[in-house]
């Protein structure tokens, strides 16, 4: 299931607001739902509100009075007629929203859906503070706390998930995700214990116990090793860190065993916000392996250095299958991962007190009619063309460039007066070169040369 259309009749700054979330004409997937969407816009334009509207629509039970059952989980979801009624601080899904939007019969847990709010790094505190119930020496989660997550917990049913990964559910969600890792460690401990016991028995018993252990190791992938090698370590390595593929104690089950590349463990209180962000974003996706799901992420760039920001969307998508990713961001590096038809830029309409979508195409909505291709632009061009940043640099640099131009004009004047060899000109030329170096501005090697440009 993917969202193809959203129409908001009236809610906060949205007024008769429509979004078309399909590939444009001329695209090989024309008319099909977008696989990824990037929401941009000045703070306050409503990016997070849009994510919340989608979340609310996907997590609100359908109208029980609607008895028709023509819903197909493969259907695309048109949130047409989504009517959010409300007071400024309360989102309230109006009844007819899901009558038209949900079609009928669908239950929230039928939809693969995960929402990562912007503050996910704060999830680590409840995860670390969890007092786990201990059963048979191993921790176990309390399923009753996770109503919305129940279908995922029932192992005899297809994996479905519909949850918001916020502080309220953080520890429960995390516990469920860590189940396979705990189970693996438990099994390994059992088999090693049997080997230990067998050393006092016949040699054949010891061989059998060792063989059992080896066979199990060969046939059972270590989920923590997979998580570290296939998902987290390629990115954590940029921070000089990695996830150790083996737990040293069950206390480490609370989160993940993070260590430096030379093997020094990082105590949980010293784990950086960026490490938390990456781990709490990618690990759930890796462990759930969302398929045909809708994934919302608010500000995936939080606490991440630019080199990681430029790769994060690719990393997220690599953990999903046939899913729809919708992110809200302020980062040009994130925006660079999207095609222009995948970008929804919200702008204020000051006159009418509402927001509108800035269109990137002229004429027909066709791939050939798009003005900007963020993927093919330099990051500074994205800032100018997509994020509408007027300046190239800090205002102080503009001041310095004015000074540079004044010095240049004075040198031009001295050249016209035939005084280019004078002491005054030499001094100005030295100042000019120094200022050009300071402002990273390329100049020709000779005074009075014709052209220069930004490096």
């Amino acid at each position: 299931m993917k969202v193809t259309k959203i129409h908001i009749q009236e809610f906060q700054q949205f007024r008769d607001f429509g979004l078309e979330l399909t590939y444009p004409d001329g695209h090989e997937k024309a008319g099909q739902p977008l696989e990824k969407v990037c929401l941009l816009g000045q703070s306050g334009t409503g990016k997070t509100t849009l994510l919340e509207i989608i979340r609310k629509s996907l997590q609100t039970p359908p109208n029980p009075n609607n008895k028709s059952r023509n819903y197909n989980s493969e259907d695309d979801l048109e949130l047409v007629g989504v009517s959010m009624k409300g007071k400024s601080d309360v989102l309230e899904v109006h009844q007819r929203c899901y009558e038209s939007g949900w079609k009928s019969g669908v239950q929230p847990e039928d939809v693969g859906f995960i929402y990562f709010p912007a503050e996910i790094s704060q999830n680590l505190n409840p995860i670390l503070n969890e007092e786990r119930k201990v059963v048979g020496g191993f921790s176990i989660h309390d399923l009753n706390q996770v109503e919305i997550f129940k279908p995922f917990a029932k192992k005899d049913q297809p994996k479905k998930y519909n949850f918001t990964f916020g502080p309220e559910l953080a520890k429960s969600v995390w516990s469920l995700l860590m189940d396979p890792i705990v189970d693996y460690q438990k099994k390994e401990a059992e088999l090693l214990f049997e080997i230990g016991l067998s050393t006092t028995e016949e040699a054949s018993d010891e061989r059998l116990a060792k063989s059992n252990y080896q066979n199990w190791k060969n046939s059972t992938p270590n989920p923590l090793e997979e998580l570290s090698h296939e998902c987290l370590n390629p990115i954590l390595q940029k921070m000089g860190l990695r996830v150790r593929p083996k737990l040293h104690s069950l206390k480490e089950v609370a989160f993940l065993p993070i260590e430096t590349l030379d093997g020094r463990p990082i105590p949980s209180e010293f784990i950086s916000t960026g490490t938390k962000q990456i781990s709490l974003l990618l690990a759930p996706l890796f462990l759930i392996k969302p398929e045909n799901a809708i994934i919302l992420i608010d500000e995936p760039e939080r606490s991440l250095y630019p080199d990681i920001q430029s790769e994060i969307i690719k990393s997220i998508i690599s953990q999903t299958k046939d899913s729809q990713l919708i992110v809200a961001t302020h980062s040009p590096l994130i925006a660079a991962s999207f095609d222009p038809w995948e970008i929804v830029e919200l702008k204020f309409d000051y006159e009418n007190g509402c927001v509108f979508q800035e269109q990137y195409f002229e004429g027909e909505r066709h791939v050939d009619n798009y003005k900007f291709y963020p993927k093919y632009l330099r990051y500074d061009s994205i800032l100018r063309k997509i994020f509408d940043l007027d300046s190239d640099s800090h205002p102080d640099r503009e001041e310095k460039l004015d000074e540079l131009a004044e010095l240049g004009a004075e040198l031009d004047m001295l050249k016209e007066e035939g005084k280019l060899k004078s002491k005054e000109a030499e001094r100005k030329w030295a100042d000019y070169r120094k200022l050009a170096e300071k402002t990273d501005f390329w100049i020709a090697s000779e005074p009075g040369a014709k052209y220069g440009e930004d490096k």
Binding site: D390, D402, A405, A409, G452
Partner: protein, 214 residues
């Protein structure tokens, strides 16, 4: 910048309305309340005088010359269509906006971003484009490598400070404009060495052409 020779030729209804106000010493209606009345007439009359360009930066605002054809004015009022890309009416001296909101002498058409940049900053008439005393070539120099206007280095220190401040207020080196102007002039240099007629940034174009005679 260039000197702008302002004369109302087509918007005759606005002209007589304004003359009537002046003759009878009547207050001007506030700017917002009558935006619809003579706004298009003034905008298009000025834009025609300004050769389709921003009064201060000379960035081109209107590509289609046909919108200035005399037949677009019927009985002294502009009847053609107006695009939001044609720029905005701007009060050179914001201080006059309260009592003389529709004063012809104080109005210019400028690029939207230039207008926003200028805001309500107090102005120095040293760079008022329509004054007879305004001699842009004497006041301003153009530094080609940085594509920035600066005060003529031959002026006095006191004048240079005044000019510099006005360059900033009028947005002559506003980054978006400066970048666009640099690109336009570099393209012209590569194309034919400034041989063809420019359709914007006329003053900067002349500076470049003088520096690089063919």
């Amino acid at each position: 910048m260039e000197r702008i020779n302002k004369r109302i030729r087509f918007s005759k209804e606005y002209k007589s309305w304004l003359e009537d106000l002046e003759r009878n010493n009547l207050p001007h209606p506030s700017y917002n309340s009558s935006n619809g009345k003579y706004y298009p007439d003034i905008l298009m009359e000025l834009l025609k005088i300004q050769r389709g360009c921003c009064a201060y930066t000379q960035k081109r605002l209107c590509q289609d010359e046909s919108v200035f054809a005399p037949q677009n004015w019927v009985e002294g009022k502009y009847q053609g269509k107006i695009s939001s890309s044609y720029g905005e009416l701007e009060h050179f001296d914001e201080g006059l906006k309260v009592n003389k909101a529709w004063d012809w002498e104080n109005l210019f058409v400028v690029d939207e971003k230039v207008n926003k940049n200028k805001g309500s900053a107090p102005v120095d008439y040293i760079l008022k484009p329509d004054l007879d005393s305004f001699l842009p070539e004497d006041l301003l120099s153009y530094h080609i490598p940085t594509h920035r206007f600066v005060a003529n280095p031959r002026k006095s220190s006191e004048e240079k400070i005044r000019i510099k401040e006005m360059i900033k207020i009028l947005g002559l080196n506003f980054p978006v404009i400066q970048r666009d102007r640099g690109s336009y002039l570099n393209e012209n240099r590569k194309k034919d060495g400034f041989s063809s007629q420019p359709n914007q940034y006329f003053a900067a174009f002349r500076h470049c052409k003088a520096k690089f005679p063919r």
